[in-house]
Chain length 186, copies 2
DNA sequence: GTCTATAAAGTGATAGAC
DNA sequence: GTCTATCACTTTATAGAC
């Protein structure tokens, strides 16, 4: 087989990225060492530095949060969009988001990124929701979202870790609908 | 004024504990150094070690999660108990719980403690709830709980950080009631 | 291109002077 | 009792041998 130098290097880079995603997601930013990533990728700490510049830059490449599509429509459509988006986050092993989530509380920049992304969506949603307390209800939707993801992937609550995404969204859908429309809260 | 040596020492210990609570809560376990705690308490790193043995033991004293009372009664009473307990956690600055929460994702032992405490309560509640998917709904209640606390104290979602505990529980109460009773989910 | 050796800085923990 | 000085270790990052 003919593997050029460039191909070799690309494959090593991919192995390093995969190892970094997994280890950052499992142990957080501070407890994941360049050495451990290199070892897990069957590579070398010096190479990791050479390819990615610094631990910080490697983390940034690995822990970016995928952007969400814009939210629009009437309350029912908004509720369905939010429920579907949450269902997607419950699918198995979104390693990149996990790394950002776990690092959120110890790595200031990761925390800011999660916060910015979530607050932006909440404001977007709140603007389309009826009622005086729309901002509060949008915040509760955000809390429900992040709590469910954490409960399933990180803390592994028995009810959440065992169920399928469909079963979970079936329970969440009516809650989100009630929060969006404002029923039973004023 | 007459301050005995024992009193002096006790006051220094209390200052160290307060500083540790604050710094662990703000920056997490790994990023909080013994030196920083000592400086914040106007004390000395050597003394911190002498009084508390190790960084680990100091953290354990500071980040224990207060035990919850037992849950019992009919579904309506359970929902009210859970809502009230959550309201208490939204009161301002529960520094000890914050330290445990922030460390949860990087400090394995802290994570286990939070997980054990929350799963225990969820199982207790699920056993008293009607329906086949009681465990799932109990997990969602747990997710809502931890998500709300994180959203208010750590991520500071605008809707949650601004509101009073009473306003927040007013929104959460009907959600929790629906989850406990199982209405609109089967 | 890849990896070894090492530098530079910061950590928790300890010993001992005052 | 309190604090200074230091140890032993680990970290990221760099320089240079192969």
């Amino acid at each position: 087989m003919t593997t050029t130098r460039a191909e070799q290097r690309r494959q090593t880079e991919l192995r390093i990225l995969a190892a970094a995603r997994r280890l950052f997601g499992e142990h957080g930013y501070d407890r994941t060492t360049i050495r451990a990533i290199a070892a897990a990728a069957d590579s070398d700490a010096g190479l990791v530095m050479r390819y990615f510049g610094s631990k910080e830059q490697l983390f940034a490449q690995v822990a970016t949060i995928p952007a969400e599509g814009p939210i629009e429509g009437d309350p029912d459509q908004i509720a369905e969009l939010l429920t579907a988006a949450l269902g997607g986050k419950l699918a198995d092993e979104p390693a990149a988001a996990l790394a950002a989530l776990r690092a959120m509380f110890s790595h200031p920049e990761a925390g800011r990124e999660v916060r910015t992304a979530m607050i932006g969506q909440q404001r977007q949603v709140a603007a389309l929701m009826p009622g005086d307390d729309a901002a509060l209800r949008a915040g509760v939707i955000g809390a429900l979202t992040i709590g469910t993801v954490i409960g399933r992937h990180l803390l592994e609550f028995d009810g959440l870790a065992d169920a399928t995404p469909g079963e979970i969204t079936a329970v969440l859908r009516p809650l989100i609908r009630a929060l969006v429309s404002g029923d039973a809260s004023e």
